[in-house]
Symmetry: C2
């Protein structure tokens, strides 16, 4: 693919990701993606012969990689797992607030709307969540926490739930409350 | 309103709730609601002059009350807050699995899709989450937990996140993992 093709592909994925984060799968209509990206209709089916589901699946995967990279980078600067979780909550909270409470988790809305009815989209969501959980588990294990697999699933649920509640309340309070408790909870569980 | 009117209203709300739980706000088209409920089109606008948004708002509130009642009933049969959370996870997990991974939290999908763009729907979602959190906070306070408000927000985030992950993975594993950790986390935080 030439540079122009790559660039068009990237613009289509970026526009889809943006629309998905605001309104989920059903909020990202093909016409809206075309309008937001400025790409011609033919290019969408050229780059994504599977149509909307392929476009949405690749956008979710791309957003998942971006957040995964952000978490791994953050992991190198914090002293422990509690610091990592608090840092992730702060970063995602900044992003959510700056977007007018639109941009929470780029996977969650598609997962809730589509996981029961689309095998390919369910697989992408499951894969992205699995990769984030793995990053948390590795850090917990490195920090010497007991039951790192169960605790990683618990921390990921905590972050996802806090982001959902922050969006529902249009407020950072749920993120701040969870951030205040997570160090105590993790410390307690080690004893 | 006569008994027939009440019955039609209930059928419209029930059909909407069912469709929302499977596919969210956008998964509950007015035509699908009419088809599933068997109610005539005129009755929808008679009972819900505000149209779809009123119908969805009242359905979310009704589902919120149902789950709230279920949690308060469960609270009377469990020895402590950790038992309550584990019991809620088990009940909601049964419901999710029995529905073919369709029925997670009846509020979450609408909250993620609509909270940023609809003031009335954001208010309903925020109110329902607030009432659930209050039930958890009261129980935590009665059990003598420190920081009951922050801990209640944390536990609600945990339940919501675990349900989301269970739907994404089409598996009870996230619910089971969280249930296994929650007692240790809460116990640790008390010391």
């Amino acid at each position: 693919m030439g540079r122009k093709g790559e660039e068009t592909r990237g613009r289509l994925l970026g526009a889809t990701q943006d629309l998905i984060e605001s309104g989920g799968y059903f909020g990202a209509g093909v016409n809206q993606v075309l309008e937001a990206s400025g790409a011609p209709r033919g290019s969408l089916y050229f780059h994504f012969p599977g149509g909307k589901d392929q476009l949405v699946g690749e956008s979710v995967r791309r957003a998942g990689h971006e957040i995964g990279r952000m978490v791994r980078e953050l992991a190198e600067t914090v002293p422990d797992t509690a610091g990592l979780v608090a840092g992730v909550l702060a970063l995602l909270g900044d992003r959510l607030e700056a977007s007018g409470w639109r941009k929470g988790c780029p996977v969650a809305t598609v997962a809730l709307e589509m996981a029961a009815v689309s095998d390919p989209l369910q697989e992408v969501c499951s894969e992205v969540y699995g990769s984030w959980e793995e990053t948390l588990r590795d850090r917990l294990a490195a920090d010497g926490h007991p039951e790192p697999a169960d605790t990683a699933a618990t921390l990921l649920a905590l972050v996802e739930g806090a982001l959902l509640l922050a969006k529902a309340h249009r407020s950072r309070e749920p993120l701040d409350r969870v951030a205040r408790r997570v160090a105590v909870l993790l410390q307690g569980a080690r004893r």
